[in-house]
């Protein structure tokens, strides 16, 4: 009995390993890299965050298997636009040139970037169908377009894309930490490289082993027809661009998202961050969209009040 159990465990283990290797081989990932001004700041241990990110990217991209497709998308456009490295098989001879050109300057328009990166992945999934599809957000602060993050994140997840987050040298967890597949905090260059490496090189999307006996007990009282309909819903993944929704995002929000905090960009965590889009320092706060909405709302309210006053 024990032997049988051991054999089963070993078999399952080898299958999971095999599927992990398969996943790494068939991984399609876009690294959304925060190159906002705050990434120029020094890490707790070591040089500037952007320098650590460059080194980590160079090392990890150099190790990607030929079958993997990787892209690096910048929050702020560089010389060749937002795609520092276009999504596809990695051209290892071009990594150094591309990565060395990387500069940190600008805001943190994460929501907009998530949509662009997700759309590229969805287009690829439409073509390939198989493989694992991930967004890896590497950021040292909160989004300046938090409203778009709120809008797009559930849609991206509803389309079955995995979202992983690495908080770079953040004193507090990123607001996405509890709402994404994995969250890692990297406070020094070595842990940043390790974190990026773990997502890009070494993880399968999920345990793809076959069922075990205990699984049937868990499902016993789940109605069969309901299960069949659930499978239908799960297997009809939409690949249309985010925001055009084939799958409307979930708005019931059983667990409210944590409030968006200003990003602590200084080691002593004392200075608040400016939140001007396009400014040197990325940070959270009141977004431009919200501001516009508020202004329109105020104008409408004033008009209504003046209309009522006139009628009187």
């Amino acid at each position: 009995m024990h032997r049988l159990l051991l054999a089963a465990i070993l078999t399952a283990g080898s299958l999971i390993q095999a599927s992990a290797a398969l996943a790494a081989d068939n991984l399609n990932v876009v690294v959304i890299l925060d190159n906002s001004g705050s990434m120029q700041e020094g890490m707790n241990s070591g040089g500037p965050r952007i320098a650590a990110a460059k080194t980590a990217l160079q090392k990890v991209l150099d190790q990607t298997p030929d079958s993997a497709k990787v892209g690096v998308y910048l929050l702020n456009p560089g010389r060749k636009g937002n795609w520092l490295i276009p999504l596809g098989p990695v051209d290892k001879s071009a990594i150094n040139d591309a990565v060395s050109s990387l500069r940190a300057d600008g805001g943190t328009p994460l929501g907009k970037s998530m949509k662009s990166a997700a759309d590229a992945l969805l287009k690829l999934r439409e073509e390939q169908r198989y493989g694992d599809y991930k967004l890896l957000i590497v950021s040292d602060g909160e989004a300046t377009d938090a409203n778009l993050v709120e809008r797009y994140l559930p849609e991206i997840q509803a389309r079955g894309l995995l979202v992983d987050v690495i908080g770079v040298d953040m004193a507090r967890e990123h607001s996405l930490a509890t709402r994404t597949s994995t969250y890692r905090n990297a406070s020094d260059p070595a842990s940043l490289e390790q974190a990026i490496s773990a997502v890009v090189l070494g993880e399968s999307g999920a345990d793809a082993s076959d069922a075990g006996e205990s699984d049937f007990e868990l499902l016993a009282s789940f109605p069969s027809e309901m299960a069949a309909e659930s499978l239908n819903a799960l297997t009809t993944l939409a690949n249309d661009p985010v925001g055009t929704s084939g799958r409307n995002s979930y708005s019931a929000n059983p667990r409210p998202a944590p409030p968006v905090a200003n990003s602590p960009h200084f080691p002593n965590n004392s200075a608040p961050v400016g939140n001007q889009p396009g400014g040197r320092n990325g940070g959270g706060g009141f977004s431009f969209g919200k501001m516009l909405f508020l202004m329109v709302f105020i104008v409408i309210v004033l008009r209504v009040i003046s209309f009522i006053a006139k009628r009187r």
Partner: protein, 612 residues
């Protein structure tokens, strides 16, 4: 298009009964035949039948009588081509020494094998494979979707088929592909290939007939076209559609020339010239045909050939040149020199001479045409010499065509295009597919790929959805969408809604589906969508492993395989047999790899060096 081999006369002579069970032996049909030596005088009588492949014989001969400036004329042959659609008469002429040649299909020779193979002098030597047919079809009514349906839930399909003609072989192969025999269906034999006493008319007038074996014009008449279904208008039969066609089952009907053994021994040089001349002519005829197909401009040379065919076969058979006569040639896949080598010499060719002879003798003995197995001999030609005589390049065929899968199936919807399917199961967490356990299925897959040379063999992996459903519940609990109470073995699940908690029941299905579709279960450590994707990837990987195992097996056995036909596909958890397994036994039903023979456009397959 037209295989109007008017076996009507044969059928009349045969006086076959109208059911498969009352099969008459071929020797009873011909009556006793004495063997007479072949006349030494010239011209040599060579039969032809109404088929596109015979157009190359006319071309090589310059008409029915050899013209001095024709390919055969220049080779020093003097032939007289004579109609051979009455196969029984052909056999009589052959045995009586009037002609050393027989013209038919491998299966027709099989039906006559006991008669023609009894005396060593008349034992057939197969000289040449002219072509593979692409113009014969089995048309069925609406209820039959695949060949597997010919026997469904114990019900035997009733199939109309001409007795003694090429469609007997077509039917045999179609049944074999679904692992059925003539005992599993009810065959209603009819006298003629086409016309009022043909299978198409029987199908049209007798609603109890489920399917019929027909030539292209009849297929179009019943269905409206190879990819259409009849509407009931303009003579079509409502719902009638092509169940299988030799366009896809492209290595079923092999047209051949055979000669008597005694004549071959004495006239080997003439036999070589005959074959070389045919192959030389076939190259040119194929080019003329394909040029017209591309340009739609009738060259004078092609017009002459089509006119010649129309004159020989009759205007009632080929009313027009551009449609009917050209269509006759389009329905024929000429077998080139590499194809001859592949057919006669490649032991690993599952549609080669040995396989086809075995199948022909199987049919003859199992269906009652013969009681003993009397085989044929191959010519044993030196094909380098034949290439030189034919003035064509000597090219050896490939054994394995290296190519990517023929196509992608993004919508996963092959049901309408599936011709036949079968399934293998695997154990939980199985990662290898050994020959020891799956050899029989691999053989079947390779045989299917060979017989259905114009189809894709889709290897479709399936995963069990249990893990995904478990992840759905776990993610729901983690995110507060679902609440669980009770102990192991007696859990209860509740859907947390704005109105409180309700135990999961069918009424809440739309709400649950909506939550799934809006990503409510995602973003936690347990992700049902990721598990679903992982299952999809794994099912594809398993299909790939099965494909690789088949390829390795084929290489080890020396079996020919065209890799462009093999298409691994992952279905993941999208098509489970049991949606919510309650035990490992039920889960195992979902753990399967399906083989589906799927219609594709044959032109998408890579066959340039594999043309047999």
């Amino acid at each position: 298009m037209f295989r109007t081999t008017l076996f009507a006369l044969t059928a009349c002579l045969l006086q076959f009964a109208s059911t498969a069970t009352a099969q008459e032996k071929f020797s009873s049909i011909t009556g006793p035949l004495d063997v007479t030596p072949v006349a030494k005088s010239e011209p040599i009588q060579v039969p032809f039948i109404t088929w596109g492949g015979d157009a190359a014989t006319f071309y090589a001969n310059g008409g029915l009588d050899t013209k001095p400036d024709s390919i055969y004329g220049k080779a020093g042959l003097k032939l007289k081509l004579t109609p051979g659609d009455d196969f029984v008469q052909q056999v009589k002429d052959y045995m009586g020494g009037k002609s050393p040649f027989l013209r038919g299909t491998m299966r027709m020779l099989g039906q006559a094998s006991e008669v023609i193979g009894k005396d060593p002098r008349t034992k057939p030597v197969i000289l040449l494979q002219l072509s593979w047919s692409a113009g014969d079809h089995i048309v069925s009514r609406e209820g039959l979707k695949t060949l597997n349906d010919l026997k469904k839930d114990g019900k035997k399909a009733k199939i109309a088929c001409q007795q003694g003609g090429p469609h007997v072989g077509l039917l045999y192969d179609a049944l074999a592909a679904a692992q059925l025999t003539n005992q599993d269906v009810e065959i209603v034999f009819v006298d003629d290939l086409t016309g009022p006493n043909g299978a198409a008319e029987k199908f049209r007038t007798d609603p109890s007939i489920d399917a019929c074996c027909v030539i292209t014009p009849d297929m179009i008449g019943l269905t409206g076209g190879v990819d259409s279904a009849g509407t009931g208008a303009e003579g079509t039969v409502k719902g009638a559609h092509v169940l299988v066609s030799t366009q896809n089952m492209s290595r079923s009907i092999a047209d051949v020339y055979a000669v008597r053994h005694d004549w071959y021994e004495a006239n080997r040089d003439k036999a070589e010239k005959f074959v070389a001349g045919y192959l030389q002519a076939a190259v040119q005829v194929k080019k003329l045909r394909d040029d017209f197909e591309k340009s739609q401009r009738l060259s004078p040379e092609y017009r002459n050939l089509l006119t010649q065919c129309q004159t020989i076969f009759g205007e009632e058979v080929l009313p027009t040149l551009e449609v009917d006569a050209h269509g006759l040639l389009l329905d024929c896949n000429f077998v080139s020199l590499p194809g001859q080598i592949a057919f006669f010499e490649q032991s690993g060719n599952l549609s080669g001479y040995n396989s086809k002879m075995t199948a022909a003798l199987d049919l003859a003995t199992k269906w009652g045409y013969a009681t003993s197995r009397r085989g044929f001999d191959p010519s044993g030609f030196d094909y380098r010499k034949i290439a030189k005589l034919a003035n064509i390049e000597y090219v050896e065929p490939s054994r394995i065509v290296q190519a990517e899968g023929v196509m992608e199936f993004p919508d996963d919807d092959f049901d309408d295009d599936t011709i036949v399917s079968f399934t293998i199961s695997f154990e939980p967490n199985q990662t290898d597919f050994s020959v020891d356990r799956y050899g029989a299925e691999f053989d079947r897959a390779l045989q299917s790929a060979s017989t259905f040379g114009g189809a894709a063999v889709v290897i479709r992996g399936h995963s069990d959805p249990t893990k995904t459903l478990v992840q759905l519940l776990k993610a729901g609990i983690e995110k507060g969408i679902i609440r669980r109470t009770g102990q192991q073995g007696s859990y209860k699940y509740f859907l947390n809604t704005q109105n409180g908690s309700n135990e999961l029941d069918l009424g809440q299905t739309p709400a649950l589906v909506k939550l799934i579709k809006t990503g409510a279960f995602e973003g936690a450590a347990d992700s049902p969508l990721q598990t679903m994707q992982a299952a999809l990837n794994l099912s594809h990987a398993r299909a790939e492993q099965v494909k690789q195992a088949i390829v390795n097996y084929a290489e080890k056995k020396g079996v020919n395989v065209n890799l462009s036909q093999l298409q691994p596909v992952g279905a993941g958890i999208a098509d489970p047999v049991v949606s919510k397994p309650s035990s490992m036994a039920e889960a195992k039903q979902n753990m399967r790899v399906e083989f589906r023979i799927v219609k594709v456009n044959p032109e998408t397959l890579t066959e340039s060096d594999f043309d047999f």
